[in-house]
């Protein structure tokens, strides 16, 4: 596996090249957290509010920042001063960037574990080729994933090592070491609570697989329930949560911490609409409003100002369609997960089925969740990579989803330099993905078709090119920036939402059909 380490090394070196790149406010967010954890006793961590970027990740992440800050002072102690808002000296940048790159080593290790334990090599002679060998291709797709790359190493976040923890727990599931899997996932939840999106899959799988056994024909055997297994499972999970939240519960700060973690005051959609169901919902509302006004069915006075100017304010108020409450989104999300969870329970198909469950839960949360960030698409894309060497149709959906999902991250990057970097990187990674998966599944290509894709899918994906040309050149060229400043973003969001929804439906159907087929044969 010399090539694996070479790939890991090359990707790491590339991350070093990106050190001076554009940084989003998340850079300042994490610098501020370094300062908070360094300069305050931990009972003040979730109370401090000098900066608007208050600590809003769970306690284990705060401790992670605390340990980082102990190293940070050797680089530049000034970054650890609470009042030094927006401080970004050269050494601060170097330190923070390096911390992401070094933390990624956990991810690389997890990928190594996955590809050596869970991916079977196809033929011996392919062993060294990064375009052919399934294990290596999986490794490249994971380690050099476009989304992680630009979100972590340009935009600035720590998704890499968190994905590493997720992957570690999935590997443990593949190995049947369920308690360790539960441990890794609990730790992960206490680092970043966005992973609650996929917690239902873990809950159902571990309960079903760890605490119950199956009869030989795959049915649930209720009698096999093991209380001691449930006890140990619960102990592991509760132990991790107590280590993390215990001190804050003891200090009576639990409520304070939770309000920081779950700020429901934010709007239904993020400033830029993540390409999900609500983006389509909002867009439909907006379109209906315009049509309504034209046909004199709606009087212009009832329409909120923002909706008419095309502004994308945080709180988008609906005119035609009913407004949506956080509770409603939660209910819809859970309903969307339910079939997947039921299927996991009644018709479990081992680790690969579990990964499907994870993907479907992530999908449901992304599609219907409250205030979803566009970055959450990575929560769907990354686990899906684990399936692409299984069924050809999984690979097909992955190709559409990863292309459109990665493209939907584009609005995060708008500075002149990075505008070009993102295009180069997306082109490279997309060509690589199509090339490797296409040749692995022996794709026959028809006229106007991308590998493995149908003609409409190919046309849809190619539509990205004119869309991008429009939003970056034509739109400003036509002088529409003043009048319709948010039109390109809206178009992108809706365009991508169509593709993501399509992939969701298709993936659900594929996972569901799978079950019926299996029932027929048995």
């Amino acid at each position: 596996m010399a090539v694996f380490w070479a790939v890991a090394g090359i990707v790491t070196a590339f991350k070093l090249l990106l050190i001076p790149s554009y940084r989003s406010t998340d850079f300042e967010v994490h610098r501020n957290w370094l300062a908070i954890t360094y300069s305050l006793p931990f009972d003040q961590w979730y109370r401090e509010k000098t900066s608007e970027w208050t600590l809003d990740y769970p306690p284990l992440f705060a401790w992670f920042e605390f340990y980082l800050s102990q190293l940070a002072r050797f680089f530049d102690p000034n970054m650890l001063v609470l009042s030094n808002l927006n401080y970004a000296s050269e050494n601060t940048i170097l330190f923070q960037r390096l911390s992401v790159i070094v933390a990624d080593l956990l991810y690389i290790y997890a990928v190594k574990q996955f590809v050596s334990k869970c991916v079977k090599a196809k033929k011996k002679e392919d062993i060294e080729d990064i375009f052919v060998n399934p294990a290596l291709v999986t490794a490249v797709l994971l380690i050099a994933n476009f989304g992680l790359f630009i979100v972590d190493h340009i935009h600035f976040q720590y998704n890499g090592f968190l994905s590493g923890m997720l992957l570690m727990s999935i590997v443990r599931i593949y190995e049947g070491r369920n308690l360790e899997a539960a441990f890794w996932f609990s730790v992960l939840l206490n680092f970043k609570h966005i992973y609650l999106y996929i917690a239902p899959a873990y809950f159902v799988y571990l309960l079903r697989y760890h605490c119950f056994a199956s009869t030989p024909d795959g049915k649930l055997s209720l009698r096999s329930f093991s209380l001691s297994k449930l006890f140990w499972l619960g102990t592991v999970v509760i132990f991790v949560f107590m280590v993390s939240f215990g001190p804050f519960i003891y200090m009576g700060q639990l409520e304070q911490v939770l309000t920081r973690l779950f700020p429901f005051k934010r709007g239904l959609c993020h400033a830029y609409w993540a390409p999900n169901f609500w983006a389509l919902y909002n867009a439909f509302d907006k379109a209906a409003t315009i049509v309504g006004v034209r046909l004199n069915l709606l009087s212009p006075e009832v329409i909120p100002q923002a909706a008419m100017t095309g502004g994308m304010v945080q709180e988008y108020s609906h005119t035609v369609l009913p407004s949506v409450s956080p509770l409603a989104t939660m209910v819809v999300t859970l309903l969307a997960m339910l079939p997947a969870l039921i299927q996991m329970w009644t018709n479990p198909k081992g680790p690969a089925g579990f990964v499907r469950g994870v993907v479907l839960c992530a999908f449901a949360s992304f599609m219907f969740g409250w205030h979803v960030h566009e970055k959450a698409i990575l929560l769907i894309i990354l686990p899906m990579i684990l399936l692409v060497f299984g069924k050809q149709r999984d690979a097909q959906i992955f190709l559409v989803l990863s292309t459109i999902g990665h493209y939907s991250l584009f609005p995060l990057f708008f500075t002149p330099f990075e505008n070009f970097t993102k295009v180069l990187l997306l082109a490279t990674s997309t060509i690589y993905t199509f090339l490797t998966l296409g040749s692995f599944h022996g794709a026959q290509r028809g006229f106007l078709q991308l590998p493995l894709l149908t003609t409409p899918e190919s046309v849809y994906l190619s539509g990205i090119v004119p869309l991008q040309v429009y939003s970056s050149f034509l739109h400003p060229f036509l002088g529409l920036e003043r009048r319709l400043p948010f039109l390109p973003l809206l178009l992108m969001s809706v365009y991508c939402a169509v593709g993501v929804t399509y992939c969701w439906v298709k993936f659900y159907k594929l996972s569901w059909d799978d079950k019926t087929k299996k029932l027929k044969t048995s």
Binding site: F14, S21, E128, A427, I431
Partner: protein, 471 residues
């Protein structure tokens, strides 16, 4: 189809690396009053768009030659002129006569970076692809590997997209010429090489092999065909040069003013600390104190010519494409090691043709590439390019290591020697960055780096000569 998809992955990754390097620092940033090569190139745009061609190379009140006066051949001037026009179209302040000196802002940097990037894409990248793509004896995989090495070779990317120069044009043209000779399109070869020479006079390092190869191939054709070919080649050279020099051929005086600018013998023996023979010799023997400048020039000239003789005569007698490629490396190394007024960047002129041999001789090539980037370390560090230099060198080294297996089937002593040599470079890099040199010897680490590199270059010089004579 698959091959082209793979090729585009390779090319796009290389471009992404270049573009990421471009985000880093460049030479002379925040260093008034002279700044650096970045400012020099910008200044040439300023001069060429504002003054008529016959004033470009002449000192005047508008054109102070002491401030980065144009000292490259006409093609560079024309290229500057083109870039200058675009710059003026985007923002006239960038090339305003005199007022634009030392301009520093993000937008202008972006423009300059794009100009290098475009030059790279238009000349160097196609040349790299052609060199290996249209080459009958390589398998598809080897073609890809060769292209990857030429594109990932860190020195050129760091100097052009980091430090800031347009070497990719002259080196790309030389590669095109080499490719043309390989395809037995000798006239095109001569044409491209003349263009390269007219872009950067440093390409004279390669002139001898081109001359000997072409002349040798004329000899081999028999008398009548040979003379015919020689005349065609001569015509090609004269016409190309003539066209490039049109605005400067009005009278002898204007031609002379350009030539004086191109070959400034007034400067020192070597610019900075360089890993060549004279600089390394200075550790034990201070030539500068023993000889006058004129004598030093003569000494350099004599030793360079003397050292050029073996490989040139050999090529003249046995002109062959493969031998020609090795001779390109040898000639460039001779110039780098022995000539007058050498820049540390000039080692690129030897490294690029060496990359053409990477499929057949992966070990010596990867070794050469690594040491050459290492030898430029003091310069790169000055430009704030330490991290990208290390990263880009590592990427290239790893790519060659896992695709071409340079140490495969090599004797143990070679493996050990190679490992020690690379380890030594790593240690020297770390030491030079971590420790402060003693006050009495502020250049200690720089001299250690150049001497260490010189020892390697001397060995490569011997090895490549051996290679040429045993081909």
């Amino acid at each position: 189809m698959q091959f082209y998809a793979k090729l585009s992955v390779v090319v796009l990754s290389a471009l992404a690396i270049r573009w990421s390097i471009a985000k880093h620092g460049y030479s002379g940033y925040n260093k008034p009053p002279m700044y650096g090569d970045f400012e020099a190139q910008r200044h040439w745009m300023e001069i060429t768009v504002n003054l008529p061609p016959n004033q470009w190379y002449k000192n005047s009140t508008e054109n102070d030659l002491l401030y980065w006066g144009l000292d490259y051949p006409p093609l560079t001037a024309y290229h500057s002129y083109l870039c200058g026009l675009v710059a003026r179209w985007i923002n006239p302040d960038w090339v305003a006569l005199k007022d634009s000196r030392g301009i520093q802002n993000e937008q202008h940097k972006l423009f300059m970076r794009y100009s290098v990037f475009i030059a790279d894409i238009l000349v160097y990248v196609p040349a790299c692809i052609l060199c290996f793509l249209i080459h009958h004896s390589y398998s598809d995989n080897n073609k890809l590997k060769g292209i990857a090495v030429l594109l990932l070779q860190p020195g050129l990317a760091l100097i052009d997209h980091g430090h800031f120069q347009y070497n990719s044009i002259s080196l790309g043209l030389t590669l095109l010429a080499t490719w043309a000779l390989g395809q037995h399109l000798d006239l095109f070869g001569a044409f491209f090489f003349c263009l390269a020479l007219n872009y950067k006079q440093m390409e004279l390092y390669h002139a001898m092999p081109f001359f000997c190869y072409l002349l040798g191939s004329c000899f081999q054709k028999g008398i009548s065909h040979g003379i015919m070919k020689l005349m065609m080649l001569g015509m090609m050279v004269i016409i190309t040069f003539g066209l490039c020099w049109v605005p400067f051929l009005e009278n002898l005086e204007s031609t002379r003013s350009v030539l004086v600018r191109l070959f400034p013998f007034g400067r020192g023996l070597y610019e900075d600390k360089v890993a060549n023979f004279w600089c390394s010799l200075s550790v034990v023997l201070k030539l500068k104190e023993l000889l006058t400048t004129d004598n030093t020039v003569l000494l350099c000239l004599a030793s360079t010519l003397l050292m050029l003789l073996p490989s040139s005569l050999h090529l003249l007698r046995y002109p062959g494409v493969q031998r020609f490629k090795v001779a390109l490396i040898n000639a460039a190394l001779v110039f780098f090691l022995f000539s007058f007024q050498v820049h540390e960047k000039s080692i690129l002129i030897a490294v690029i043709p060496a990359c053409l041999l990477v499929v057949e001789h992966p070990l010596v090539v990867t070794w050469f590439i690594t040491i050459s980037t290492f030898s430029m370390l003091p310069l790169l560090v000055k430009d704030g390019l330490l991290i990208p230099s290390v990263a880009a060198t590592f990427i290239c080294y790893e790519v060659i290591r896992v695709t071409l297996h340079p140490l495969h089937n090599k004797a143990t002593w070679i493996r050990v020697l190679h490992t020690l040599s690379i380890l030594g470079a790593i240690i020297l890099t770390v030491v030079s960055q971590v420790l402060t040199p003693p006050e009495k010897l502020p250049d200690l680490f720089t001299l250690m780096i150049t001497t260490y590199s010189f020892l390697h270059y001397a060995a490569f010089f011997v090895y490549f000569h051996y290679l040429q004579f045993t081909l």
